[in-house]
Each structure stands twice: as C-alpha cells, then as structure tokens.
C-alpha cells in the first residue's frame, strides 16, 4: 500500500484553512462569551437602575416628609424660636393700586 503524497500547496492551503476555521471558531466563542458577559452586565445595570429609581422615590418621600409644613413650623417655633410676623412687619410687593 502506497501512501498518497500531498503537495506543498495543498498542505499550505489546509493549514491556512485550519487557521481560518480555528480563528472563526475562537472568535465565535469569544463573541458568545462576551455577549453573555454583556448580558449579565446589562442585567446588573438594569437592576441598579431599578434600585436607584426606588431610592429616588424613597428620598422624594423623605424630602416631602422633612418639608412638611407641620414639621417646618415646629422647628421654626421650638428650635429657632421664631414667631409669626406682626401685621406691620409685612411688606407687600404685589400691591398695584
């Protein structure tokens, strides 16, 4: 039995094709891995956005609560010792007559 001899060109083409195939295969795997990783990151960021939105809502309620007129008046009167202005202390800037 005589083994078939490959020409040099055939060997080069085969090696080249193998390299190209391997390259595409590696690229494909890398691309898939990257996509999955990006997917995880996107999901993580989405969760972060959701969590930040919730945090904003919470802070808005807190802000609203801190600015409630009852609280502001209590602090003004009790802590800052302020009192309502007397009538003669009021200056109007919207008096057009």
């Amino acid at each position: 039995m005589v083994r078939k001899k490959f020409s040099k060109a055939q060997i080069i083409i085969s090696i080249f094709c193998t390299i190209i195939l391997t390259f595409f295969l590696i690229f494909y795997i890398w691309h898939q891995a990257k996509s999955i990783r990006l997917g995880y990151e996107t999901r993580k960021l989405e969760e972060e956005i959701l969590s930040l939105k919730k945090e904003i809502e919470k802070l808005e309620v807190k802000k609203s609560s801190l600015l409630s007129l009852e609280r502001v008046e209590k602090i003004a009167r009790e802590e800052l010792k302020l009192k309502s202005p007397e009538k003669e202390q009021i200056i109007r800037d919207d008096f057009d007559q």
Binding site: E60, S65, L69, E70, E88, I91, D93
Partner: protein, 578 residues
C-alpha cells in the same frame, strides 16, 4: 462440535433477547402508566409540591396636591413568610418562629397564631408583612430554611395627618378603604401580576418567577393646596380649642371651577384610623340656620316678588306661624329687605318667605342642589334631608326660610355660596384635578356648569352679603383691604331626647367669599356645639377672617383698597426688579 456450540449460542441469544424484550415491555407499560394513565394525577401532585402561585400587587399610584407635593406614595418594603419543610421536626420549625419573634417584634398572640398554622401543616404562612428593609436584613441574616422574603409596597403619607380625611387610607393589601384611596381605588391600584415560588423535592423554595408583570397604578393630582390645607387645619384646630366645640369643618374652594383648595375636619385622625372614614364636610349634616337665608333671598329676588324697598315689620321681635312663635334675638323695628338679611332677622325672613310662596321657595332650594348629592369625587357623601313639597306642613315654608326643617352638608352649603360668587352659575365641587394616565397623558376632569339664578340676582345678592360683613352680623369676617361677602348662621340643634330644638346646643357657621366683586376663594366654616359664645358671627366669622388673610397673602391677591396703616407697600422695589 462446532454446530452444537453454535446452537447453544443461538439458544442463549434468543433467551436473552426474549428477556430483554420482556423487560422493555415492562418498562414501556410502566412509562405508559406514569406518563399517560396517571399523568393528570401526578402532574397535579407535582405542581402542588413544587409550585406556589402568588399574586404580585402592583405599585399603587401616587397622590399629589395641586402644586406637586406628595400626599401619598407607595414604597417597596419586605414581607416575611414561611413555607414549612415536610421532613422538618415541629420543634425546629417553632424554634425558627421564636428566633424571628425578637427581630420582627411579633406579639404573643401573633406568634401563637403562626405556630398553630405550622402545626396544621399550612404551606404558606405570613409571618410579618411590610417591614422596613433594615429589619428584613437582620431576619435574612439568620439564614432560616423555609423562611422567605418577598417585596411588597407600603403606603406612606409624608404629610402625616394633613388632609387625612380627603386622602383616606388603605388596608394591608393596598386596597382603598376611605377617601380618595377608596373612590379612585381601581385607578390607583393598577393591575395585579402573578408569580410562582418554585420548590425542590424537600419543598424548599429556591426561586421566585414572575409569570405576569404587574401594571403600576395611575397617579392623581388633587385640587387641594398643601399650604391652604395646612392653614385651614391650623385655624380650625385653634377655633375648636378656643370655643371648646365638639367638632368643626372648614372647606375652601375656587368658586369658578368648584375646585376644593382645602377641606379640614377637627378632630382629625391618622391614616390608620377607621374613624377617618367619616369626612364631616361631606358626611355630617346639620340645620344651616341663617346661612340658609342666602337661598330665601335668592328666591325672593329671582321670583321678582320682593323689592329692595319692601319694608317688613319686625318690631314685635317674634312671629306666630301655625301656633308657634319664632323669635329674633332682639326687636329690630321696621326693616327693608336688604336689612332683614344683613341683620339676619328671622321675623323679617319668614315674611319674605311668605311673599315668595312655597312653590318658588321649593324650586330655588332644589335648584341650589339641596336634598341631592353634590357628586363631589369623594365616597360616603350624604345628601342631607329636604322633604318634598307635598310633605310640607303649615310651618315648613317659614322654617325653611330661616334654615330649619332641612339638614345640609358643609359642601352643599359651599356649593350654594359659589352660585352667588359665580354670578348665578352652579359648579360641581371637585377634588381630583388630573389623572396622570401615561397611556393617554394627563386627563383633566371637565368642569360642569348650570345656571341657577340670573346674573343680576347674584350681583344684587352679593351687594347684600357684602353689607352683612360691613354692618351686619358678619363684621368679624372683615378682612382689611378686601370686600368680603358672606352670611352668618346660628342654628339650635335638635335634642334627640326631647324631640325639640335645644337652647344649649348650637351649630355656628359662616359662609362667604372674597374679594366680593371678583371672588378668588369661597369658604364655609361650621363649628358644632361651641361652649360660651355660640353665634356664627362670634365663633365662625373670625375663623373666616384668620384663614382668608393668610390665604389671600399666600395666593398673592393684592388688597383692593389702599391701606394707609400697618402695611408698607414696596412697589418701587418691584419696578426695580422689572
């Protein structure tokens, strides 16, 4: 020899093949039994064992005041539940509850209820709902098998008790129970989603999957103004304490649009109190007394039967109708029609009523909306009591002329005052300004108008009611720099034990608007059973003044008249600014 050996092999192969085929048949039969015959039963059992469907409540819509201040908002919190494991001994399961009890501050009664449910082998037991995130974190750190956490929404009211009667309350499942929360429950609530808890063979929950995303509720913008509401609540509270009254309400509106700017009740309650369900301004009915003379005067002018120059003899200080004496609090002598209203003479008003006639009086009272709900967008509104004309007695017209034999709500009376302020047009009071539906954009609630009396009648009435606060019974309602139009009312309350009007229990009220010629706000104040002074002009009118001064300043409504004293004008500064 070879043939014998081959035969033996062949025989063995046949036997082996036969047994293999038999084994395969048994396997196939068993598979058919499991996958086809018993499939529905096993499927049901598996689902029961490893899945638990759960309703996901959507985030409830936010409620804002007219300037965008948050009045009610839902925020995510954690709820704890347990799914006991089948093979876990009872004492270990109960031990878990004891551990959680300290962190979650469970009461003895609550802990016992949970334990009883564990003993009954319940597969889903709430341990505590809507706890704060820090507490939930502490409980999570215990790493207890079968104890799970789920996110829910909890209603927060950052303004605390402010406008509590209007906003109302929700129950633990975020369903509205009173106020706007109840009336607009379907709008605020959104659509429920569905989730599933997946369990392993030991029935431990290992995953929560959302099957159907919940649709969040729609936000609402109320007509209420946080600052005006605060002013109304503060002043009402002061008035109730000052007069030692049992109850009171203040309602402030924009006459043109019917938008309610403030609706205060005192005593008020926190958002978790069931007593919040009764909003006195729309629920509590009372005899309006002299404020109802607004309607008698309207009927008088509109019917054309009464002239401004008509004179009424009030010199006796009383009038007898069907054998009953109705009195004035003093003898007035002879009064003209406007003077009868300005001084709130019962004797004079009854004579005016007689001149108007029963038919006209009935028509006007009905036209102003009494005996019917105002259709304000709040639940549990009362329509009051107003009898049909065919049920009237001989004294009914006289009693109605001065605000008896009828019971009204504060909101009905304010609606009537708004007719005068609006030059004869009635507007439906409303409390929701906008529905912020993201699918159709902000939906405004349309205004509804209907003419009740002519513009001329309303203008003439305004001139009379302006005089009430200048020289009549409502002097205490005067606001410096502004013309106020209004009417006082003092009504004796019906004593249920005797069936007669009490001489000790009264309802004092004042209803009016300011500025009289171009009304920006209209207001009604009702003070129930004040002690000591009890006249509307003494008890309710000053509350009108105190609130109006602050609200007009807040709304930047400049005084109509130059005030030489006390107020320094700074027009030059404004010009510089321009």
């Amino acid at each position: 020899m070879k043939n014998l050996y081959q035969k033996k092999i062949k025989k063995r192969t046949i036997i082996l093949t036969f047994f293999l085929a038999l084994w395969l048949c048994v396997l196939i039969s068993r598979l058919i039994q499991l996958q086809v015959i018993n499939y529905p039963r096993f499927r049901k059992e598996v689902i029961e064992q490893n899945q638990n469907k759960k309703i996901i409540n959507p985030k409830r819509g936010t409620i804002y005041d007219r300037s965008g201040t948050i009045l009610a908002q839902s925020l995510p919190v954690q709820s704890v539940f347990c799914s006991p494991l089948d093979d876990e001994p009872m004492d270990i399961q109960l031990e878990k509850i004891n551990k959680l009890r300290q962190i979650l501050h469970l009461s003895n009664k609550h802990a016992q209820t949970i334990k009883k449910r564990i003993e009954k082998n319940d597969h889903f037991i709430w341990i505590k709902r809507k706890i704060d995130l820090a507490t939930a974190e502490k409980a999570k750190n215990l790493h207890l098998n079968g104890v799970q956490f789920i996110e829910e929404n909890k209603r927060f009211y950052p303004q605390q008790k402010l406008a509590a009667h209007i906003i109302g309350r929700v129950n633990i499942d975020d369903e509205g129970q009173s106020g706007i929360e109840y009336k607009y429950n379907s709008t605020l609530q959104g659509k429920k989603g569905q989730g599933i808890v997946l369990r392993d063979a030991k029935r431990r929950g290992y995953m929560f999957q959302t099957l159907k995303e919940p649709q969040p509720g729609i936000d609402l913008v109320l007509t209420i103004d946080e600052t005006i509401q605060y002013i109304a609540e503060e002043e009402l509270q002061k008035a109730i304490h000052r007069t030692k009254a049992s109850w009171g309400t203040v309602v402030i509106s924009q006459p043109f649009s019917g938008e309610i700017l403030a609706m205060a009740n005192y005593p008020t309650f926190s958002h978790d109190s069931p007593r919040l369900d009764r909003n006195g301004a729309i629920h509590h009915t009372y005899a309006p007394g002299s404020t109802f003379k607004i309607i008698t005067a309207s009927a008088a002018i509109e019917s054309g039967r009464v002239n401004f120059k008509d004179q009424y003899d009030c010199s006796m200080g009383f009038i007898s109708i069907a054998g009953q004496k109705i009195r004035d609090h003093k003898k007035y002598g002879t009064l003209s029609f406007p003077e009868v209203i300005i001084h709130s003479s019962n004797v004079g008003t009854i004579q005016v009523g007689q001149q108007v006639g029963e038919e006209n009086l009935y028509k006007t009272i009905t036209g102003f909306g009494f005996g019917q709900k105002t259709e304000i967008d709040l639940p549990a509104e009362e329509k009051g009591i107003f009898r049909s004309i065919k049920d009237w007695t001989k004294i009914s017209a006289a009693s109605l002329s001065i605000g008896y034999e009828i019971s009204v709500t504060a909101i009905q009376m304010l609606q009537a005052v708004n007719v005068i302020a609006n030059k004869g047009v009635i507007t439906r009071p409303k409390i929701v300004k906008k529905i912020l539906d993201p699918s159709i954009g902000a939906k405004k609630i349309p205004l509804q108008f209907k003419r009740v009396i002519s513009e001329e009648t309303a203008t003439r009435l305004t001139s009379i009611f302006r005089e009430v606060t200048k020289t009549g019974t409502g002097k205490e309602a005067q606001v410096k720099g502004y013309d106020v139009a209004g009417k006082t009312g003092t009504a004796q309350k019906l004593d249920p034990s005797t069936g007669h009007y009490s001489s000790r229990a009264h309802t004092a009220s004042f209803a009016g608007f300011v500025p009289a010629d171009k009304p920006v706000i209209s207001m009604i104040i009702v003070i129930d059973e004040p002690q000591g002074q009890y006249y509307g002009g003494q008890v309710a009118a000053p509350v009108f003044r105190e609130i109006a001064v602050q609200v007009l300043r807040y709304l930047h409504i400049p005084p109509q008249k130059i005030l030489s004293e006390h107020i320094i004008t700074a027009k030059y500064w404004r010009q510089d600014k321009k």
